[in-house]
C-alpha cells in the first residue's frame, strides 16, 4: 500500500486551544468529580466506607475467592488426601505438598505438610475446582496482611485454623451448595 492510496484516511491530532494548553479544562473536570463525591458523601449515601470498622458485604460469600482454608472431616482430621491435584491445577505453582501414609486406619494417604504461598497465589480458585474431596476452599477473607513474606506462606496448621475461623459463617461448600440445591449433602465421591 502506497502512502497516497485513496483508501487511506489521514487524520490529524486535534490542536489544543488556549484553555487546553493551560490544562484548565481537565483540571476543572477532575475537581468536579471530587466535588461530586464530596457532596454525595456529606449527604450520606454510603459511597465511602469506614473500612476496616465497617466491613463490605458480599453478594455471595460462597463464591468469593479469598484466603484458602483446609477443611476438616467429621473427626476433625484434615480432609485433604494429598492427591496433588490442586498443585497440578494451580497456574501460579504456589502449592507445595508432601504426601505420606496416613496414620489412620480408614485413610491411606494424607498431607504431612501442605503449604500455600499466599503472595504468589492469584486467587483463581482452580485448586478448589480440582480438589476431588472438597478439602481446599477459598473463603471470603480478603484483607490478608502480614509483616513479612514468610508470614504469608501458610502452612497446614494455619490453613486449618482458617477453617476453624470461617466454618461458622461459611459452611463447607459441598454441604451448603447441596443444601441450596435441595439435596442431602453427600459424603463426597
Amino acid at each position: 500500500m502506497q502512502p497516497d492510496d485513496k483508501s487511506i484516511k489521514w487524520v490529524r491530532e486535534p490542536q489544543l486551544g488556549i484553555a487546553g494548553r493551560m490544562y484548565l479544562t481537565p483540571l476543572f473536570d477532575g475537581l468536579a468529580t471530587t466535588a461530586k463525591h464530596f457532596f454525595s458523601t456529606v449527604k450520606g449515601d454510603g459511597f465511602t466506607r469506614q473500612f476496616p470498622e465497617e466491613r463490605p458485604e458480599f453478594g455471595n460469600p460462597l463464591i468469593y475467592r479469598g484466603v484458602h482454608r483446609l477443611n476438616k472431616d467429621d473427626e476433625g482430621r484434615v480432609k485433604c488426601v494429598a492427591c496433588f491435584l490442586c498443585a497440578t491445577a494451580c497456574p501460579a505453582h504456589c502449592i507445595d505438598i508432601v504426601g505420606t501414609e496416613a496414620p489412620w486406619k480408614d485413610r491411606e494417604k494424607y498431607p504431612q505438610s501442605f503449604v500455600i504461598d499466599e503472595l504468589r497465589c492469584i486467587f483463581c480458585g482452580m485448586c478448589e475446582e480440582a480438589c476431588p474431596v472438597d478439602a481446599i476452599e477459598l473463603t471470603s477473607l480478603f484483607d490478608l496482611t502480614g509483616a513479612s513474606r514468610e508470614e504469608m506462606i501458610f502452612d497446614k496448621e494455619k490453613l486449618l485454623s482458617v477453617y476453624d475461623m470461617t466454618v461458622e459463617a461459611e459452611p463447607m461448600k459441598s454441604k451448603s451448595m447441596a443444601e441450596a440445591a435441595g439435596q442431602p449433602a453427600g459424603k463426597g465421591h
Binding site: 488426601v81 501414609e101 491411606e108
Partner: protein, 573 residues
C-alpha cells in the same frame, strides 16, 4: 514375507518374526488394548481385553473366511493371510464389557493411587470404557500391605492379569507370588513368611498395569506427571541396564528400566533401581580443596586446573613420563576417558595410563530368564581398557600400578574415582602416602582422598552425559538429569579444561572425535542409538521406536506411533 491385513490395511512382516496379532497390528499403526500379555512373559490370555475378530484370506481366490468367535490377539500368531478386525462393534462391545467388569469392584481411588497418570486402566477407560456405572458398589478404601521390602500391594486395585506372578516364576525364578482364592475373591499374595525379596523384585511394580503393586520406595513421593524422564544407563554392574531416570526439580525420584534387547530386555535389578543414595549423600565432595601447610584450603576451579598441572606435570617433566600414573576409573564415560588419556599423553607421550580399580563382588548371578547381575560392579571397564590400550605406551592395571608404586617407580598419580560404594581401604590408600604428588578426583571422601595433595570433586552418571561400554561390548549413551552436586564440575569439563579447550564440554562432539581417533569406537561416528551399538560383534538388535521406552506407561512397549498413548511429551533440554 507374510502379509497380514489389519482393519483393511495390508502389512508385510518377516517370515520368521513370530509376532502375535497385537504386535502385527502395532506395525500397522493399530493399537489393540491388553493387560495380561507382556512381551517378556508367557501368554495366558486371561484378561480378555485384547479380543479381536480374525480370519484367513485365501491367497488365490482372495476370499476371506472369518472365525465366528472373538479370539485373543495376544495368543493368535500372525501368519501369512491372517485378517484382523479390531474396530467392529463386536470387538468394541467386548472391550467395553471387560472394562466394566474390572471396574465393578475397582476402588477408583485414583487421587491417592501412585499409578494414576500411567495407569492402563485409566487410559483404556477413556478409549474403550463403559462410561456409566450400572452396578452401585462403593466398597473399599485400599489399604496397603507389604509383600516384600520393595513391593506394596493394594489388593483391591488388582485386575488379576497375573503378570506379576508369571514374572516371579519365569524371569526371576523364585516364584514368591501366587494367586490365592478363586473367582471374585482371588487375590495376589505371598506365602506367609516368604516375602518377595529377590534381587529383581522391583520389576513387578513396573509390569503391574494398575496401581495394585506399587514401589514402596517411591510410594507417595511424587505424582508421576510431575516427573521428567531422561535416558540413562545403570552403573551398578557391567550388564549396563538401559534405564530411565525420573526427575523433578533437580531431585531424583525413581529409576525404571528401558527396553533394550541387547542388554537388559525389560528388566533391571533392585540394586540399580534403589541403591542410589550416594547421589545425594551429604558427604559428597562439593568443592576443590588443596593441602597447604597440612591443612585443607578451598580453591576455585581456574586455579585448580593450574594446580593439577603443577602437581602432575611436574612429576612427569622432572622424572620422565613413565613415573606419572594417570588412573582412568571404570566409572568414567568413554568420552571422559578419552579426554583424560589425551591430556595425559599431551604432557609426555610415555605417561603411564592405568585402568582404575575394577570392583568385583561375589559371582555373576543369572536368573531364570537369562538376566544377569554381574560381579563386576562398574559400567565401563571395556571402554576404558580400549582407550588405555590405544593411548598408553605401557598400559597397566590397578595392581600393576600398586606394585610400581611400591618399587618407587611411580612418583606421582592422578587418580579418578566415581565409585558409589567405598572402594579403597586405608591399607591400600597408605601405599600412595610417599608419592611426590597425588591428585584425586572423586565423588565421595575416601582414605585416598584424605591423603591427596589436591582433591577435585567429580559427578555421578546421573549428572553427566556420556557413553559406557558394557561387559559384552555394547556402548550405550546416558543423558544428564541432575545438575552437578554443589560446586562439582562434570568430569569431562575438568578434563576439557585441562586440555586447554575452550567452552562447554559436549559429550556428543567428543564421542565423534573419539570415533574418528580410536578404531574400536569407529561405529559411533553418528552417535549411539537408544538400544546401543555392539562394538565387538558389530551386530545388535534395533527395536522399533514403538518398542522402546519403559515397560510401564507412558510408552508401554508395542504402542503404535500415532496411538493416543504415545502422545506424551518427552521433555527436551
Amino acid at each position: 514375507m507374510a502379509t497380514i491385513t489389519v482393519d483393511g490395511k495390508e502389512i508385510e512382516i518377516g517370515d520368521n518374526e513370530r509376532l502375535n496379532v497385537i504386535q502385527a497390528a502395532d506395525r500397522a499403526g493399530v493399537s489393540i488394548p491388553f493387560y495380561c500379555w507382556h512381551p517378556g512373559l508367557s501368554v495366558v490370555a486371561s484378561c480378555r481385553m485384547c479380543l479381536v475378530e480374525t480370519g484367513t484370506k485365501n491367497k488365490e481366490t482372495g476370499e476371506i473366511s472369518m472365525v465366528p468367535k472373538l479370539v485373543p490377539a495376544c495368543q493368535t500368531p500372525a501368519k501369512d493371510g491372517t485378517v484382523v478386525v479390531t474396530n467392529s462393534p463386536k470387538v468394541k462391545a467386548n472391550q467395553n464389557f471387560v472394562q466394566e467388569g474390572i471396574l465393578l469392584d475397582h476402588p477408583v481411588d485414583c487421587p491417592i493411587c501412585d499409578q494414576a497418570g500411567e495407569c492402563w486402566l485409566q487410559d483404556y477407560y477413556f478409549e474403550f470404557g463403559h462410561q456409566e456405572r450400572r452396578a452401585d458398589i462403593h466398597p473399599f478404601t485400599s489399604k496397603r500391605r507389604e509383600l516384600g521390602p520393595h513391593v506394596s500391594l493394594f489388593a483391591d486395585r488388582c485386575v488379576m492379569c497375573s503378570r506379576c506372578v508369571r514374572f516371579t516364576r519365569e524371569v526371576s525364578g523364585e516364584g514368591e507370588l501366587m494367586v490365592i482364592d478363586r473367582g471374585s475373591h482371588a487375590e495376589i499374595d505371598v506365602f506367609p513368611g516368604f516375602p518377595i525379596d529377590n534381587k529383581m523384585s522391583g520389576n513387578v511394580n513396573d509390569i503391574c498395569p494398575v496401581g495394585a503393586l506399587c514401589s514402596t520406595d517411591f510410594l507417595y513421593e511424587q505424582r508421576v506427571w510431575f516427573l521428567e524422564a531422561q535416558n540413562s544407563v545403570c552403573t551398578k554392574c557391567s550388564t549396563g541396564c538401559a534405564t530411565q531416570m525420573h526427575v523433578n526439580q533437580n531431585q531424583l525420584y525413581r529409576i525404571q528400566p528401558r527396553f533394550n534387547p541387547n542388554a537388559n530386555d525389560w528388566w533391571m535389578c533392585d540394586a540399580g533401581r534403589y541403591e542410589n543414595q550416594f547421589v545425594t549423600a551429604p558427604e559428597r565432595l562439593d568443592g576443590v580443596v588443596i593441602r597447604r601447610n597440612n591443612a585443607w584450603e578451598p580453591l576455585d576451579w581456574p586455579h585448580a586446573i593450574r594446580e593439577v598441572y603443577n602437581h602432575v606435570a611436574d612429576v612427569a617433566l622432572n622424572h620422565g613420563g613413565s613415573h606419572l600414573a594417570v588412573v582412568l576409573s571404570p566409572f568414567l564415560s568413554c568420552e571422559e576417558a578419552y579426554l583424560l588419556a589425551s591430556y595425559a599423553v599431551s604432557i609426555l607421550s610415555d605417561v603411564t595410563l592405568v585402568v582404575g580399580k575394577i570392583p568385583v563382588v561375589g559371582h555373576d548371578e543369572k536368573f531364570k530368564s537369562g538376566f544377569t547381575i554381574r560381579a563386576e560392579k562398574c559400567p565401563n571397564r571395556r571402554g576404558v581398557e580400549e582407550i588405555v590400550k590405544h593411548f598408553g605406551k605401557q598400559p597397566l592395571d590397578w595392581d600393576g600400578m600398586l606394585a610400581k608404586i611400591a618399587t618407587g617407580e611411580i612418583k606421582g598419580a592422578y587418580v579418578t574415582g566415581g565409585y558409589g560404594d567405598p572402594w579403597i581401604d586405608d591399607a591400600e590408600a597408605a601405599k600412595f602416602e610417599h608419592l611426590e604428588s597425588l591428585v584425586v578426583q572423586d565423588i565421595l571422601p575416601s582414605p585416598l582422598a584424605r591423603r591427596a595433595k589436591l582433591v577435585l570433586p567429580g559427578v555421578t552418571a546421573f549428572e553427566k552425559d556420556g557413553s559406557y561400554v558394557n561387559h559384552a561390548g555394547l556402548i550405550q549413551s546416558a543423558s544428564w538429569g541432575l545438575r552437578p552436586h554443589g560446586g562439582a564440575h562434570v568430569d569431562g569439563q575438568t578434563f576439557s579444561d585441562l586440555l586447554g579447550r575452550r567452552g562447554i564440554y559436549n559429550a556428543a562432539d567428543v564421542l565423534k572425535e573419539l570415533a574418528a581417533k580410536v578404531p574400536f569406537f569407529a561405529r559411533c561416528t553418528d552417535g549411539v542409538p537408544p538400544a546401543g551399538l555392539n562394538l565387538v560383534t558389530g551386530q545388535e538388535k534395533h527395536p522399533l521406536t514403538t518398542e522402546l521406552g519403559t515397560v510401564t506407561h507412558p510408552t508401554p512397549t508395542f504402542r503404535s506411533e500415532g496411538s493416543r498413548m504415545l502422545e506424551v511429551e518427552t521433555p527436551t533440554r
